[in-house]
C-alpha cells in the first residue's frame, strides 16, 4: 500500500511538474506577453496623447510669435514660425493616426496591415504630380489646352502637357514643325515659388535652342516665364534597358538587343552632335532624360543646356555617375565654361549611358568601371574611350558616333575588335548628316553659341591636351565684309562646323549684314521699347519681391488658432467684467502697454518707409544699369535679344565704382571660418577705415561676380604662398590682364606664427596700394 502511495505521489509530482512546464509556464508566458502587449498599447496611447498635448502647447507658444512678426512686418520670421507650426501640426497628425489606427491595429495583431502606411501615404502625396490645370496665380497659356501634367524635376518648374489650338498649329507649321499634336509647357512662376536665378539659368540657352528647333515658343512676363517643347510620348531608357535585359537574361545582351541599344546610342550621339555644332552643351545626359518613342531615342530636359562659349563659371549641376568627376573638379577651381570643351562632358555622359545599357547598372567606378556582361570588345573600347580622362577622351561626338556606327554596321558585332574601329586607325571622320531633321533645322550648322554670348578667348587650361594639335588658321579674304577662309588642319568637334560655315562671321561673333534687317533707327526704337517694358517689369518685380515670402499654411493655422483663443479670452473677459461691473469697480488701463504699442507702430512705420525708399533706390539702380548695359550691347551687336536683358539684369546687381572712389580692391579672406570674433572685428574695422579713405571692395558678398572673382583669384594662387614672389606676380598679372575692374587684392591670412593677421597687398594701381598700406599701418600702430 505505501508503495502504491509512493508511486502515486511520484506520478502526481511528475504530472504536476510536467503540467507546470508545459501548461502553466506557457500560460504565464502568454499572459506576460499579453500584459506586455497591452502595456505597450497603453503606454503608446499615453505617450502619443502627451506628445499631442505637447504639440498643441508648442503651437500655442508659436502663434503669438507669428502674429507679432506679422504686426512688425517681419515676413521671414513669420514664415519661419509658421513653418514650425506646420511641423508641429504634422507631428500631431502623425500621433493622432497612431492613437486611432496604429496602436489598436498592433494590439489586434494587424501590424502588417498598417506597417509603413504613415510613411508611404505622405511620400505618395509628396511625389504626386501637380494640378493638371495651372493655378490662377500661374495663369492660362493662351493658345494651349492643358490636358495633363508631369512631375517636375529639381528645377522647381511645373510641367504641363498641352494641345495647341489651330492658330498655334499653323504657327508651328510655318516654322516647319508639323505633327505637333501635344506639347510640354515648362513654366516658372514667381508666385509659385520659382526664383529669378532659376529663370535666368533656364533662359540662358533658350534662343539657341529655339533656333535649333528644340523649343517651339517661349514667353516672359512680369511674373512668369515659360517655354514650349514638342511632347515625346514613350518610355525612358532605364525602362527600355530593363526590358532588354529581362529578355536577354543575366549573362548580358544578345545580338538583337545589343543592336537595339546601340541604335539608341547612335541616335543620341547624332542629336548631341547637333547640339555641339549648334554651340550648345546638354550637360545632363542620363537614361532618365532619354525617351524612346517609335524606336528612336530623344533627348529631353533642356534645364541645364549651356552655350559652349558661355563666360559663366562652370557649375557642378548634373547627375552622379553620369557626370564627369573632372567637371566637378574644374567647377570647384572656378574655371569658366568657355575655358573647357563642354562637349567632352557630354561624351562622358553618353559613354556612361552606353555602359548602363550594356551592364544594366550605373558606372559606379567612373572611368574604371568594369564591363562584366557579354559585350563586344570593340564596344568596351568605345565605353572606355568615352569615359576616360578629359584629355584622352574622344575629341568630338562625331568620332564617338563613327565608332558606334562601325559596330552597328558590322556583320557580327561580337567579332569586331578595337583595331577595326575608325578612331583607332585615325580614319577620317564623316560629319553627321542632318537631312532627317525637321525643316526648320539648318542643314549647315551655325554657331548659335556665338550669337548667345560674346565670344570669349579660349584659354589653354589643359596645356597637355593642346600639345600636338594644330589649330586652323583663318585667312581674311575680304577685310570689308570680314569674309575669311580656313587653312591648315581643322580640329575635331564643333570647331569643324564653325570653321566651314558657309555664312562666315567676323571675329567677335558680330553677325554679317542681312537683307531685310531693320534700320538702326528702328532697332533703337525697339530697344527703347524693350528697355521701357523691362523697367516696368523690374518695378513690378521689386514691389512683389517684398511679398514673395508669402505667409505659408502654418501662418494661417496660427492666425486661426489665435482668433479662436481670442474669442475664448474675450468670452472669459466678458464674464469677468460683468462681475466687476456688477460690483461697480473701476477698470485700470495699463498706460505702459499703450506706450509700447505706439512705439511698436512707430517703429513699423519707420521700417516700412526705409524699405520702401531703399527698394526704390535699388530698383532705380537696376533699371539704370540695365539701360546702360542694353545700350552697350546695342553698340556691340546692333540687336538685343531677350537673354541679353537677363544678363544685363544679372550684371546690374554687382558693385559699381562710386564717383569719389579712389580704387576697388578684391578682399581675399583666408581666415573667415577659423578666426575668432575679436579678429574678425579687427578686420572689419580695418576695412571700414580703408573704405573711409575712398577704397571700395569686391569679394565680400555672395553675388556671382564676387564668387567668380574669388574663385579666379584662388585658382591663380593654386598652392602658392604670399611669401612666394612668383605667386604674387602671377596674381598681379591676373589683375592686370583679366580684371580691369579691380585695382588690386588684399589677401588676408594668418601670419607664420598663426597668431596675427597679415594683409598682403598686390595689384596694378600703386597709388591705391600705397594708400591702403598706409592706412593699414596707421591702424596697426593705433
Amino acid at each position: 500500500m505505501p508503495f502504491v502511495t509512493l508511486i502515486g505521489v511520484l506520478l502526481g509530482a511528475a504530472v504536476a511538474i510536467l503540467a507546470i512546464i508545459y501548461i502553466l509556464v506557457p500560460v504565464l508566458k502568454g499572459l506576460g506577453w499579453a500584459l506586455t502587449h497591452i502595456f505597450r498599447f497603453v503606454a503608446g496611447e499615453i505617450g502619443d496623447s502627451l506628445r499631442i498635448v505637447g504639440g498643441i502647447v508648442t503651437t500655442i507658444v508659436f502663434v503669438p510669435l507669428v502674429l507679432f512678426s506679422v504686426v512688425i512686418g517681419r515676413w521671414s520670421s513669420a514664415s519661419h514660425f509658421g513653418g514650425a507650426i506646420k511641423d508641429e501640426m504634422a507631428v500631431i497628425a502623425h500621433r493622432f493616426y497612431r492613437i486611432v489606427i496604429g496602436h489598436p491595429a498592433r494590439l489586434l495583431g494587424l501590424t502588417a496591415l498598417t506597417e509603413g502606411i504613415e510613411q508611404r501615404v505622405p511620400d505618395a502625396f509628396a511625389k504626386a504630380p501637380g494640378s493638371d490645370k495651372p493655378s490662377k496665380r500661374t495663369g492660362v497659356f493662351e493658345g494651349y489646352n492643358i490636358v495633363g501634367s508631369i512631375k517636375g524635376g529639381g528645377s522647381g518648374a511645373k510641367l504641363y502637357v498641352a494641345e495647341p489650338d489651330q492658330m498655334k498649329l499653323a504657327a508651328f507649321a510655318r516654322m516647319g514643325k508639323t505633327n505637333v499634336d501635344q506639347v510640354i509647357i515648362k513654366s516658372f512662376s514667381l508666385s509659385d515659388g520659382s526664383s529669378l536665378p532659376q529663370i535666368v539659368r533656364e533662359s540662358r540657352a533658350l534662343e539657341a535652342a529655339k533656333d535649333m528647333g528644340l523649343v517651339l515658343e517661349h514667353d516672359l512676363s512680369a511674373t512668369r516665364f515659360f517655354y514650349v517643347m514638342p511632347f515625346v510620348p514613350g518610355e525612358d531608357l532605364t525602362k527600355v534597358t530593363l526590358r532588354l535585359h529581362s529578355i536577354a537574361g543575366p549573362t548580358g545582351l544578345g545580338v538583337s538587343q545589343l543592336l537595339e541599344g546601340i541604335g539608341h546610342i547612335a541616335d543620341l550621339a547624332h542629336t548631341l552632335s547637333r547640339y555641339h555644332s549648334g554651340g550648345l552643351w546638354h550637360k545632363d545626359v542620363k537614361p532618365d532624360n532619354i525617351i524612346i518613342s517609335n524606336g528612336r531615342a530623344h533627348l529631353v530636359d533642356l534645364g541645364l543646356v549651356t552655350p559652349l562659349r558661355s563666360a559663366m563659371t562652370l557649375t557642378t549641376h548634373g547627375t552622379e555617375y553620369f557626370r564627369d568627376p573632372e567637371l566637378v573638379r574644374l567647377a570647384l577651381k572656378g574655371v569658366k565654361v568657355h575655358e573647357v570643351d563642354g562637349a567632352k562632358f557630354d561624351i562622358y555622359g553618353l559613354g556612361a549611358v552606353l555602359y548602363s545599357v550594356v551592364e544594366n547598372s550605373f558606372p559606379a567606378h567612373g572611368g574604371l568601371s568594369q564591363v562584366t556582361k557579354r559585350c563586344p570588345e570593340s564596344l568596351r573600347w568605345v565605353i572606355r574611350r568615352a569615359m576616360t580622362d578629359y584629355d584622352r577622351r574622344y575629341n568630338s561626338m562625331a568620332e564617338f558616333l563613327a565608332d558606334v556606327r562601325a559596330i552597328q554596321g558590322a556583320t557580327d558585332p561580337f567579332a569586331l575588335l578595337p583595331k577595326d574601329l575608325p578612331s583607332f586607325n585615325g580614319d577620317p571622320i564623316p560629319m553627321p548628316e542632318y537631312e532627317d531633321e525637321p525643316e526648320s533645322m539648318p542643314h549647315s550648322p551655325k554657331n548659335f553659341g556665338a550669337k548667345e554670348v560674346a565670344a570669349a578667348p579660349m584659354k589653354d587650361v589643359f596645356a597637355g591636351a593642346s600639345a600636338g594639335r594644330t589649330r586652323p588658321t583663318l585667312v581674311v579674304t575680304d577685310w570689308l565684309t570680314g569674309r575669311y577662309r580656313v587653312s591648315g588642319q581643322t580640329p575635331a568637334g564643333g570647331n569643324v562646323h564653325r570653321a566651314s560655315s558657309p555664312e562666315p562671321r567676323a571675329r567677335g561673333g558680330r553677325p554679317t549684314p542681312m537683307i531685310g534687317r531693320p534700320t538702326a533707327k528702328e532697332q533703337r526704337q525697339h530697344a527703347r521699347q524693350r528697355v521701357h517694358s523691362a523697367r516696368e517689369r523690374a518695378h513690378i518685380r521689386m514691389n512683389q519681391r517684398r511679398y514673395s515670402n508669402s505667409p505659408n499654411a502654418g501662418v494661417f493655422v496660427a492666425v486661426g488658432l489665435f482668433a479662436l483663443l481670442g474669442v475664448v479670452a474675450l468670452g472669459a473677459m466678458g464674464i469677468a467684467s460683468y462681475d466687476w461691473m456688477s460690483k461697480k469697480q473701476s477698470v485700470r488701463v495699463h498706460v505702459d502697454e499703450r506706450g509700447a504699442a505706439e512705439a511698436l507702430a512707430q517703429e513699423s512705420a519707420q521700417r516700412a518707409t526705409y524699405y520702401a525708399q531703399r527698394g526704390k533706390e535699388i530698383s532705380d539702380e537696376i533699371t539704370e544699369a540695365v539701360e546702360s548695359r542694353v545700350e552697350e550691347l546695342k553698340g556691340e551687336n546692333g540687336d538685343i535679344a531677350l537673354p541679353d536683358v537677363f544678363r544685363a539684369l544679372a550684371r546690374a546687381a554687382t558693385v559699381e565704382r562710386s564717383e569719389d572712389s579712389k580704387g576697388v580692391l578684391l578682399i581675399l579672406n583666408d581666415l573667415q571660418e577659423d578666426a575668432d570674433v575679436e579678429t574678425n572685428l579687427g578686420i572689419r574695422k580695418n576695412l571700414h577705415h580703408l573704405n573711409k579713405q575712398g577704397i571700395d571692395f569686391l569679394g565680400l558678398g555672395d553675388h556671382e561676380r564676387d564668387v567668380d572673382l574669388l574663385a579666379g583669384a584662388r585658382a591663380t594662387i593654386g598652392n602658392g604662398l604670399p611669401t612666394d614672389a612668383e605667386t604674387m606676380s602671377r596674381l598681379s598679372r591676373w589683375v592686370q590682364t583679366e580684371h580691369e575692374e579691380i585695382d588690386g587684392i588684399i589677401w588676408i591670412l594668418w601670419s607664420n606664427d598663426g597668431r596675427t593677421v597679415e594683409y598682403q597687398l598686390v595689384g596694378t594701381d600703386e597709388n591705391v596700394l600705397r594708400l591702403a598700406q598706409k592706412t593699414l599701418e596707421a591702424e596697426e600702430q593705433r
Binding site: K333, A364, H365, L368, D391, N719
Partner: protein
C-alpha cells in the same frame, strides 16, 4: 616627420582649396561610408552616411591646422577618429531630439569593440584605406598614361585577358603589348608611391605599399606580384563601389 607631398596637400587644404577636398571625397568617401554604415547599423541610413562622410572630410579639411606630426598618429587613424566624432555628434543630436524616449544612449564603441569572427574591424578599415590610396594612384595613371597603353594594361591585368588576345584586339605583336605593359607598370609604381606618401603621416604607413607587394623599387620577378596585387585591389574596390551604389539606390 611629414614628407613634402603630404605637407603640400595639407597646405592646399589649409588654403581651403575645394578641389583638394573633392580629391579626399573621391578617394576616401566610399571607405568612410562603408565604415559609418557598419558602425551605425540600424541607426543611420545611407543618406545620413553620405552626409556624415562629407562632414567628416570637411571636418578633416578644417582641423588640418591642429594636426601635430609629433604625436605620430596615422592618417587613417586620424580620419577614423574624425569620422567617429562626426557620427557621435549625429547620434548625440538625435538623442537630444528623442530625449525622454526611453531608449538607451548609443555607445559608439559598442559595434567597434564587439568581438566577432574574422579580421578585426580596424584591420579591415586599414586595408580599405590602403586600397583607396592605390585606387587613387591607378586613377592618376589613367589620366597620365597614353590611352592605348592604359587600355592594354586594363585588358591584360585588370580584365585578365591573355597577352595573345590583347595583342590580337589591338592589332600589335605580343612583345609590343609587353613593352607597353611595363611602361604603365612603371608609371603605376611611381604614382602609387606618391599617393601613399601624400596620405601617410607615419613611416609605418609609408611602408604599407611594400608590405602589400607594391614596392617602388622591385626586382623583375616582382612584376607579376605587383600586377596581381593591383588586380586584386581593383576588384575589391569595384565591389566596394558597387555596394556603395547599391546602398545609394536603396
Amino acid at each position: 616627420m611629414l614628407n613634402n607631398l603630404t605637407t603640400g596637400f595639407i597646405k592646399r587644404l589649409r588654403c581651403q582649396d575645394e578641389a583638394a577636398w573633392f580629391e579626399l571625397w573621391e578617394t576616401f568617401g566610399p571607405v568612410l561610408r562603408a565604415q559609418l554604415l557598419k558602425w551605425g547599423r540600424g541607426r543611420v541610413g545611407i543618406e545620413t552616411a553620405r552626409d556624415l562622410s562629407q562632414e567628416t572630410l570637411a571636418a578633416l579639411s578644417h582641423s588640418i591646422d591642429h594636426y601635430d606630426p609629433e604625436r605620430g598618429a596615422r592618417f587613417s587613424t586620424w580620419l577614423l577618429a574624425i569620422a567617429k566624432h562626426t557620427l557621435g555628434d549625429e547620434i548625440d543630436r538625435r538623442m537630444a531630439l528623442k530625449r525622454g524616449g526611453g531608449r538607451k544612449r548609443v555607445e559608439i564603441d559598442e559595434a567597434w569593440m564587439h568581438p566577432h569572427d574574422g579580421p578585426q574591424a580596424d584591420e579591415k578599415y586599414e586595408a580599405a584605406v590602403f586600397r583607396a590610396k592605390v585606387e587613387a594612384g591607378v586613377k592618376l595613371v589613367e589620366r597620365e598614361a597614353e590611352f592605348v597603353d592604359f587600355s592594354i594594361y586594363r585588358m591584360r591585368i585588370l580584365d585578365g585577358q591573355s597577352g595573345k588576345v590583347v595583342a590580337e584586339s589591338m592589332g600589335m605583336s605580343e612583345p609590343t603589348v609587353s613593352r607597353r605593359l611595363s611602361k604603365v607598370r612603371e608609371l603605376l609604381r611611381r604614382r602609387i608611391s606618391e599617393v601613399v606618401s601624400t596620405y601617410s603621416f607615419t613611416k609605418e604607413e609609408l611602408m604599407e605599399a611594400e608590405r602589400n607587394g607594391l614596392a617602388s623599387n622591385p626586382t623583375k620577378a616582382d612584376d607579376s606580384l605587383f600586377d596581381e596585387a593591383i588586380a586584386e585591389i581593383y576588384h575589391q574596390q569595384l565591389q566596394l563601389r558597387l555596394e556603395d551604389e547599391a546602398n545609394a539606390i536603396g
